[in-house]
Amino acid sequence: MKFILKILKDFPWFLWSGWGAVASIFLFIALWDVGYQLYGELVLPSPKATFGAVADFFSDEAIVSDMILTITRAMIGFVAALIFGSVLGLLAGFFATASIMSRPIVTILVGMPPIAWVVLAMIWFGMGDTSVIFTVVIASFPIVFVGAMQGTRTIEGELKEMVDSFGLSLWQKFTNLYFPHIFSYIFPAWVSGLGMSWKIVVMAELLSSSDGIGAALAVARSQLDTTVALALVVVMIGSLLFLEYIVLEPIKKEVEAWRD
């Protein structure tokens, strides 16, 4: 509770410190406008037209339901990856054999291009929700898994000895030593897993689904509607930026205040 209050208290200061980021985003938009003036509407629609299209989305029921669908899929996939990845990663970390055995499998999972998973998922599950969610899970899982495993394997023997010397109970050892240490590894892994889910969901939808933002993107492409396509991208990036910088970053800052 104290922790959440501290995050809320520091929040205005955190936002105020974001002027640099805002300036760089505006600079980027200015360059984008230069591109528009050089190459014209068809290649690169103006930022104004794009943001106008984004604003129109919110009054378009079909697009709003697409957005909700996409976000739901991304969240379901991410939460599943978070649960499986964390639990299996912790287990793998606690047993030396399991961690040695899981390493090559993780390498395969990380190395496998997500697009290949989309194709396989389409064959296995057909078009629709399952394929999209499966792809999201399989792409984010290894990131979370590795984070959890690393966290468990890197607890210092010296600190373990110290807690033993003070005779902490198993539960006290967990809350004072294991949990904070593992969390410091697993939390950043969750954040990258979430970013991954956001990207993968659109790609999977584009190929293997007839609804959601990805599918809307495919329609915009076939109609050569660059403005809508770009506006959809802006929506996805905007929501990810919001989630990462406004929601997760303040939590991360607080959680990791003890780090150098």
């Binding site: 010296e158 000895e161 003070f166 902490l168 205040a257 780090r259």
Partner: protein, 245 residues
């Protein structure tokens, strides 16, 4: 009477004999230091006595009601504030959080930390400050027996002396018992009632030196004189492979 008795202790790592036939008794209120060169099995002996390593040969009888350990490095939990680090041992003993914080604050101030330091994380403290925290953490539980594993070795002489004086006060006022290992003979002379000289390969006690003056009455001159005397001792010369000029 509480005591720690080590009888016929041997210890090996694989085929390598680290400790051989170690015998000594540590009584309540006394300080024994084990002095010897680095790598001579001192830490192993201390860990065996503290129960951090499993005993294989010999016997250790420990009737002390409680004990605490201060390590060579501070070993603080990096994600906990100074105050929570000090309170760790109290929490383990089931003391309420509020009482633990009061006790931890008091002992922190006694060990030369300031109120504003208590909320800091270990990363924001200097090495000497961290060692103070480590000492406070060990002593706040009011242990009957304290194990010290060269905790002064990384400190400058000023800080070393200051912390040693704190400890000497503690010995006098709390009837604290200490098993202390060090490679610094002067430190051992200043703090202990009995010095056990441990030679290496394998670790064996080759000499027992008793110092009768209570720690609190020991003057610097006395310590220096004793030091000079010991440096002429043949066993010490052999154990530390001192070159005589």
């Amino acid at each position: 009477m509480e005591r720690l008795e080590v009888k016929g202790l041997n210890h090996s790592f694989g085929f390598f004999r680290v400790l051989e036939d170690i015998n000594f008794t540590l009584e309540k209120g006394k300080v024994i230091s084990i002095v010897g060169p680095s790598g001579g099995g001192k830490t192993t002996l201390l860990h065996l006595c503290a129960g951090l390593l499993d005993l294989t040969e010999g016997e250790i009888v420990n009737t002390f009601k409680s004990s605490a350990f201060a390590f060579q490095e501070p070993r603080l939990l990096p994600w906990k504030s100074v105050l929570d680090n000090i309170a760790l041992g109290l929490i383990a003993k089931g003391v309420s959080k509020k009482e633990a914080e009061i006790k931890a604050t008091n002992i922190a101030l006694e060990f030369g930390l300031e109120l504003k330091d208590l909320e800091k994380f270990p990363k924001d403290l200097s090495g000497g400050m961290r060692q103070r925290v480590s000492f406070a953490r060990a002593l706040v539980v009011e242990p009957s027996l304290l194990f010290l594993d060269e905790p002064f070795s990384a400190l400058d002489i000023g800080l070393k002396k200051e912390l040693q004086n704190h400890l000497i006060d503690y010995i006098a006022h709390h009837n604290l018992t200490i098993l202390f290992i060090t490679h610094d003979i002067m430190e051992a002379i200043r703090l202990s009632d009995k010095i056990l000289l441990l030679k290496s390969d394998p670790g064996e006690i080759v000499k027992r030196i008793t110092i009768d003056t209570p720690q609190i009455e020991r003057t610097d001159k006395e310590v220096f004189d004793r030091m000079i005397e010991l440096l002429k001792d043949q066993d010490i010369i052999n154990t530390f492979e001192l070159e005589i000029k």
